[in-house]
């Protein structure tokens, strides 16, 4: 089994707010992230796939295919968007880095044909990242 990781970057804005909380609760729990106008990050996405190395090609996965899938399914969808307002999945789900990693996993999982998705890592900043391994 060999693991292959491909990076990509996108920039997006988000705001943290749960309408079931009072304004005071939202402010206490989410702090500055509760600003309704949003704020942005340069996200770095790391996608790790795993599989056996193909005897003929020497590949775990065709990197060009993986790159194209990541671009089409994730980067083109999320890049330069206000996640809360423009991405349907985040209408009722807060676009925290945790939920973003889970959302990206769902976008990629069914599209990968030749290799198995192992990990989605989303860096919100260089000092903060979330890993999702598809666990319930």
């Amino acid at each position: 089994m060999v693991y292959l990781t491909r990076k990509a970057e996108f920039s997006a804005s988000h705001s943290y707010n749960n309408p079931e909380f009072t304004p005071e609760e939202n402010q206490r729990i989410f702090g500055k992230c509760n600003n309704p106008h949003g704020h942005g990050h340069n996200y770095t996405l790391e996608v790790t796939v795993k599989g056996q190395v193909d005897g003929r090609s020497g590949f775990v996965v065709d990197l060009k295919q993986l790159k194209d899938i990541m671009n089409r399914e994730v980067i083109e969808v999320l890049d330069h968007r206000f996640l809360n307002k423009e991405i349907a999945e985040f209408t009722n789900i807060i676009p925290t880095t945790e939920n973003l990693a889970i959302d990206i996993w769902k976008r990629l999982q069914t599209k990968l044909k030749t290799a198995e998705l192992h990990r989605v890592r989303v860096y919100e900043t260089p000092d903060l990242f979330v890993d999702y391994f598809g666990e319930a």
């Binding site: 943290y16 945790e98 939920n99 889970i102 260089p126 000092d127 979330v130 890993d131 666990e135």
Partner: protein, 140 residues
Amino acid sequence: MKAYLTRRYWFSASHRLHCADMTEAENKEAYGKCNNPHGHGHNYAVEVTVAGQVDARTGMVCNLADLDRFVHEKIVQRFDLENLNTLSEFQQVVPTTENLCMELYGILENGFTHAQVEKVRVEETMLNSFEYAGGREARH
């Protein structure tokens, strides 16, 4: 759904690697330049990974403000700009980064209650790092 949240912190400290049970020659052999009696320092980077179900109401494994507060109070303020050899934690054990990593894991495991502590990773320099997951296999 279970996710893993990792946050990086920094502190600077000095240490000397020296084992009282070894002879002078053995210490020199084992620790080389790190045995310098005056000590030397590092900018340590500490990566703390916590795990848990993503809370459906907050979208979080745990509130980052709680993790930041705990690490600043219990780790950064404790170790930043200190000589590790002078601290009570390292009177019986050599302050290698292996032992530092296990010590930091213990502080988190025993005191941080907002999420499960999965792993601590300590970079001593940009070229070497150490991970401890409480004796479990570290998840990558």
